[in-house]
Symmetry: C2
Subunit: 237 residues, 2 copies
DNA sequence: CGGCTGAAGTTGTCAGACAACTTTATAAGA
DNA sequence: TCTTATAAAGTTGTCTGACAACTTCAGCCG
């Protein structure tokens, strides 16, 4: 329960206060103990206490008012984090990929429903960029990512590209692994099939057909997911 | 660009370093300037610098190694945040609700695909809890939330309930507003229709029919979204 | 060439002090 | 008595100096 592992006293104080807040012992609006009280009750210096409070403030869990005190935020819900890779690696990545699938499928649907002309142009341009990169030889992971982002932006809802960028940074590093295991000829066929799926997604968006756009995106990402799942099973049965 | 508004010197340093990292001027793995360098270059005390670095560490942007220095994290993507309500209130909430819709629709699908027997029992139990709460008179917002969470947990993917809980804390406060504007009789009809939608979702999950589960969930949330959208337009045209 | 030692550099922690601001208590005035 | 001004105490923000713990690297010794 008490997670006070070794180095960094500030983390101990941080863990303690964070637990008090999340556990409800400190309700929203409540005032935290003063820095002096914390220094004496936890046996640390004021520097340590202040660093812990600074971290809490960075997470939006508390707000401080000079001359008055530090108070628990009205909505003490920390930001959304995803555990670092070394946790449950393979299975964890699959979980994140499923979350990404959910958001991208609906993004394709919203894009088909209400993308502006300019946004559609952007999506088509991104698709052409992939085509070009493929013809010029090497993989197009950057272009692929830009394509998906263009669709997210075509929803007109800024949260979609924002969240996708966030998820991408937690998934991308390993999807490059997958490509390198295939033989050159298999890889070529794989990339072409992927691109066909991309075209189908764009067709759905251009036709303003949300059902088709969603289905195409779901097929696209499900296939990617299945491939990764197979790879995960193969390395740990 | 330079966002160094008044109080809190630590925030100035924080903004500066954060911008340097996100802007690429400090690449992953790079070592940050030493605390001494920062104190002299920014004209602040070491206390301030340390608080700023503590905040960066809390966000996972840097890691510090005692005796060596502070380094930019390999994946310097901060956590996912959602701006506080007072920003673009109405439209912003709609954006978040759409994100929630995306995740919940797919969650219903995954739940239908692979929910364990125990998880299905939980979902049905949550549905019954809403029924009971409705019969006993007053609204069932807590039970409604528990129902949606049960579905998210039935996916077997912990990220779904986690992310939903995160989003919920940013949307919930205002959906209670909507209920209070209706007249008692309208409210009754509204709640019953909602509950019918809930039943349809559960039917899809129990029948292990992902397509139907998704469609039911999408209809359910789209209706809620449309209602809110109308309310938003009515108060600002 | 390899390993050891020591010095320099850096972060972690402590202590004390003052400034800036808020809150509360006190006193003065109407 | 109530209101207002003033003073006092309390709290966070910032600065300064110091030492401990650890890392890194150069130089020395074998």
């Amino acid at each position: 329960m008490a997670d006070k592992r070794s180095s960094n006293l500030a983390e101990k104080v941080l863990a303690r206060l964070g637990a008090d807040i999340r556990g409800g012992r400190l309700a929203p609006g409540d005032r935290l103990p003063t820095e002096q009280e914390l220094t004496s009750s936890m046996g640390v210096s004021r520097t340590v206490v202040r660093e812990a409070v600074a971290a809490l403030r960075a997470d939006g869990l508390v707000v401080t008012r000079r001359g008055s005190g530090a108070y628990v935020a009205e909505n003490p819900t920390g930001p959304f984090r995803i555990a670092a890779p070394p946790s449950g690696s393979l299975a964890a990545v699959l979980d994140v990929m499923e979350l990404r699938l959910a958001v991208e499928v609906e993004a394709a649907g919203f894009a088909a429903e209400r993308a502006s002309r300019k946004q559609v142009v952007q999506v088509r341009g991104a698709l052409r960029d992939i085509d070009r990169a493929l013809k010029s030889g090497d993989g197009a992971v950057a272009e692929d990512f830009a394509f998906h982002r263009a669709i997210a932006e075509a929803t007109g809802n800024a949260q979609f590209p924002r969240f996708l960028a966030f998820l991408g940074s937690h998934v991308i590093p390993r999807q490059s692994v997958r490509l390198s295991v295939d033989t050159p000829v298999e890889r070529r066929a794989y990339l072409e099939r992927i691109q066909n799926e991309h075209h189908r997604i764009v067709d759905g968006i251009v036709a303003a057909d949300p059902v088709e756009a969603r289905r195409a995106m779901r097929d696209h990402l499900t296939r990617s997911l299945e491939r990764y799942r197979k790879l995960a099973e193969g390395s740990k049965p």
